[in-house]
């Protein structure tokens, strides 16, 4: 049994008469401290799986176990607590609170946590200590994403989930973000799952899970991941 285990996870969206299987019996495992990457074409169910993993959504069938706990059986409150302490999220569009400065955005997450990294420290880590007092609108996309990552990391999550973290960024910035994530994974021993439809970045991952039509089509383990700096797309 892995750190994260999905077995026969199903998620069906009903839209009136039609029902769409966004996850149609998904099985995979991810070990602790791995940087996993979920790949797949648009509509293949990547975000769905990530949301189920992050406790943002609830699966209809199968089970999801994270660090020994079956989160698919969590109550609403347990689910919140799970999100609060164990999961960090990074989105394509950063989802920073516009009305808070970079530092405050980090604090927003940190203050809810039992054990957290002080905002200044984590901003330092992502290289934004000099922009701590800036509002998101005053930051570039990459900087915003770094704030988002800092926010996700501030509460020392067991699991960092990133949905298309570089999707809205240019090549260099994207690379920098990936580097940051990789460093985080390796230094802080944080399990990271990155969702992307860009298979070019797959080599940097320890584990790659490919989705197709809401099913896992292929799963491979990379014994020697390529450093981010060497990846090009």
């Amino acid at each position: 049994m892995g750190f994260i285990t999905l077995s026969d996870v199903r998620k069906t969206y009903k839209m009136g008469e039609v029902s769409i299987n966004a996850a149609d019996g998904i099985n995979f495992q991810i070990e602790k401290g791995e940087l996993a990457m979920i790949l797949g074409p648009s509509g293949s169910g990547k975000t769905t799986v990530l949301n189920l993993l992050g406790g943002i959504d609830v699966n209809d069938g199968g089970s999801i176990t994270v660090d020994g706990a079956n989160i698919s059986e969590f109550s609403r409150r347990e689910m919140i607590t799970y999100r609060r302490h164990d999961v960090g999220f990074v989105f394509q569009f950063y989802n920073l609170v516009q009305n808070l400065t970079a530092k405050e955005n980090v604090e927003l997450a940190a203050q809810t946590s039992r054990d957290y990294i002080p905002a200044d420290e984590i901003l330092e880590q992502v290289g934004l200590s000099d922009r701590a007092g800036n509002f998101p609108s005053q930051l570039s996309g990459g900087e915003q994403q770094r704030v988002a990552i800092a926010r996700a990391l501030a509460k020392k999550p067991k699991l960092l989930l990133c949905d298309e973290p570089t999707g809205a960024l240019d090549y260099d910035t994207g690379k920098m973000i990936l580097q940051l994530l990789w460093d985080t994974c390796k230094k802080a021993q944080t399990t990271i799952i990155i969702v992307t439809h860009n298979s070019a970045i797959a080599p940097m991952a320890d584990r790659v899970i490919k989705l197709k039509n809401s099913k896992v089509s292929r799963e491979l383990i990379n014994q020697r991941p390529t450093p981010v700096s060497e990846i090009e797309w």
């Binding site: 919140i80 799970y82 999100r83 609060r84 989802n95 009305n99 927003l108 997450a109």
Partner: protein
Amino acid sequence: MNKTIWKNTFREIKSSLSRYLSIFAITALGVGFFAGITASPYSMRYSADNYYERLNLADFRLVSIFGFDQDDVQSIKELNFDKIIYPAYYCDMFLHRGEQEDTVRVMSLPDGNDFPLNKIEIVAGRLPENPNECIVDMRWYSPDRDTIIGETITLSHGSKDGDVYDVLANDTYTIVGIIRTVLFPSDDTRGHTNIGAGVISYAVFIPEVNFTLDKYTEIFVLFDELREYLSYTDDYTNAAELIEEHLDELGKQRIAGHVDDIIEEAYDELNKAEQELADAKKEVEEELNDAKRELDEGKQELDKAKELLDEAWIEIEQGWEALYKAQAEYSSEIRNGEWELIFNREEMVQAELEYEAAVMMFGEEMLFQTRMELDYGWAMLLQGEEALEAARVEGRRELDNASALLDEPMTELKEGILEYEQGLADYEQGLLDYAEGEREAREKLAEADEEIAQAHADLAKLIDDLNDLPGWFIFNRDGFPGYSEYGENADRVASIARAFPLFFLIVAALVCSTTVSRMVEENRVQVGLFKALGYSSSTIIFKYMFYAVSAAVLGSIFGILVGMKLFPYVILYAYQMMYNIPDMLMPYDLRLAIISLTASGGLIAAVVYISIRKELSERPAQLMRPKAPKKGKRVFLEKIGFVWNRLSFSSKVTVRNIFRYKRRMLMTVIGIAGCTALMLTGFALRNSVGDIAELQFKKIILNDGWTYIDHEMNNEDKARLEAVFSEYGGELIYAMEKMMVCEKDNQHIKFIMAVVKDEQADKFGEYFTFTNRLTGEEYSLNENGAIITEKLAKLLDIDVGGEAVISRSETEKVRVIIGGITENYTMHYIRMTESKYYELFGEMPEYGVAFFNGVAVEDNDELAARLLNEELVFGTVFMSDFAGGFDDMINMLNLVIIILVSAAGTLSLIVLYNLTNINICERIREIATLKVLGFYDVEVDMYIFRENALLTLMGTGFGLFGGIYLSRFIIQTAEVNDVMFGREIHPLSFILAALVTIAFSTMVSAFMHFYLKKVNMAESLKSID
């Protein structure tokens, strides 16, 4: 419009039904409240008018000092208008029922109980069938209202020496029914009279046949032409005024006719009197002359008698003279004879002696001869002596005879003289009497002359007065007791309607505009899409116009339909507590409906247009790109590090968020402030009216009551009255209370002039509070002079030192310098001391009221019974009975307040809901982010509601503050002229208003909690907005 747009529009409505409904609800509430309250005065007038028309309430009541005869009635008939005339009888009398005595208006029931005008409606019992049955109007104070049917009552004349039988054939009646008459729409008053305490308690109707008067005492007239106008409107008043002029004209003519008759009669009488006086004068003159002549004749006779007496006197004197002479002669003859005899006797004695001697010498014989001679001599002497004696007797007798002869005429003469003297004395007395009589007669005649002159003067004055007569007294409906008050109440509601709902409407409009502009913002992508697809701007505008305007119009229609029934109904219902107007009609006011509809529709259309025009001006590509989220900004508070650094993280977030959405913040604060202000006004209105009784009866009036007394009471009566009171530990202050009128810009304001004796003025301060409400200054009548009550001062717009103009007549004005303005809530007073009053009015006050203090409440009944026996006491009022009178008014206001508070509450609910909803929609990503970050439900709630709470608190604060002004304005508008509402807003009202607002805010938060809980993180974060 093509089908897609329609479909799209309806899909839009369906998908954002809650927004659609919220526009609907806000407009429904705003327009409903506005239209409902605005329609209320109309409903009041309309219902009253319906009632008046249904029961044929007269337009005019005519009264004439001469009464009305058939000719008068005929003259009205001949007026050139279609009309109904109802001549009737009335008389104000005392009604006795057991111990109870009431002042009532006795009115006639026409034959067959068929009122042509002022119809009545039976409330209980039946109509009279016999002449000795009566019905009473429903304003029967006694609690045994249900049992009075069947009771017997007795009527007595209003004036002390009047006789009920001068007016009525019968004074005892049996009550057979209780009725309501359209003539008295108000429960409050039955009008005034000049008997008893001056106030009519209720009306009693008795069959017309009982009235023995030869002239009608009043005529009611209804004009068909006036029926078409709604009562209490200017149209009605203006039309009625025109007709009143005709009536006035006619009245003047008729009165002038009566006056001519009267003057003629008076002249006749005067002429007769003059003639009588002239006759009397002549008679007196003749009598005097006769008397004089008689006296003169008597005098002549007396003179004649005097002459005769004088003559007789002379004769008698002559007789006496002769007698005296004869007497003297006789006396001398007798004396001579005596002397001779004596002499002879001496000679004889000598001769005797000589003889003796001779005898001695010669002897007797020798001397015989001589003896013989001597004897002869003696004989002769004796003879002589006898002769003399005889002569003496004879002479005396003769003399006596002569004297006796004289005696008779002498006595006669004496009697004559006496008689004469008596006659003379009589004559002289007669002369005096005559003089006296003449003086008296002349005086009397002079008096009569004067009287005639006075009569001339009187007649001249009478003619003057009569010529000054205004004609008939014409009372239009405003002069009917209670009629105009209802209209004033309608006006008052109208004035509330002007201020209140408009405010309401503004708040609603603001909220609507926020909602609509938010909708347009949310739809910018779609707008861009439509634009890119080549739809014209007008088509796109149409879609949103249709959306918003249809919601607003439907809401308005709903609001109008419900509001125009509901609010008038509640208000009519409330006023039914004070008025006997049973009709409750709530017609739809089409004009108002159209105005409200167009206004709300127009307003919302304008809002849509303004919001969307901004979007449409952008290029489609721009529109389709997400609008940059509102940028974060530092707020000014952050510059004050001292404060900012102390705030907790969440407080900082809250503060920053509040200032981030300034517009919404403003809307929320204004909306909540408005609602709080409305609620505070509601509560304030409640306590200010509730306070009237409390303040007036506990703080202002410090006495236990008063009694109306005959102002001609003498000291003895007063002492007796005081003794009665002192038995119960009470003391009295006599005062004058007289209704007067003061002037302000041609407006006449009635007030009561109260006057007390200077020496009691200080004590008067223990009976009434004389304190300025604002400055707290205490006044004394002696020091401050005239003291005016606060509301009157306000109405007259005068301050201390200013002048109140009291008009005693058209021309005579008295100016009073105001020395103090005292707190007071009901009625208007100007109070002063007797000396001040005398100085101003040049007359002494008539003390017709006695205020008392110190009587224990439980003694009231006994004291009242005692006073009932006092002939010079007309009625007694106990303060303890009084305070309950305001309950009805307060109940009525409670209802109005419930309307206000619940409407304001609903509004605040909708405002808060709507604004919170917008807040959440705008920040859905932020919320989803928080949830993703693992915020518990409560924490998410708090994140949003902390702002709401703060805004609510701010709004409440501003609302309480603004509510002070709003309530001040509303209270002053709603105030009756005669009453000053309490000005203080109780702390409890503030607390309540705040609590209710906060409660509503909490309710909205509670409701929103479920909404927040349901926010779908995955969904919200997926979309690119």
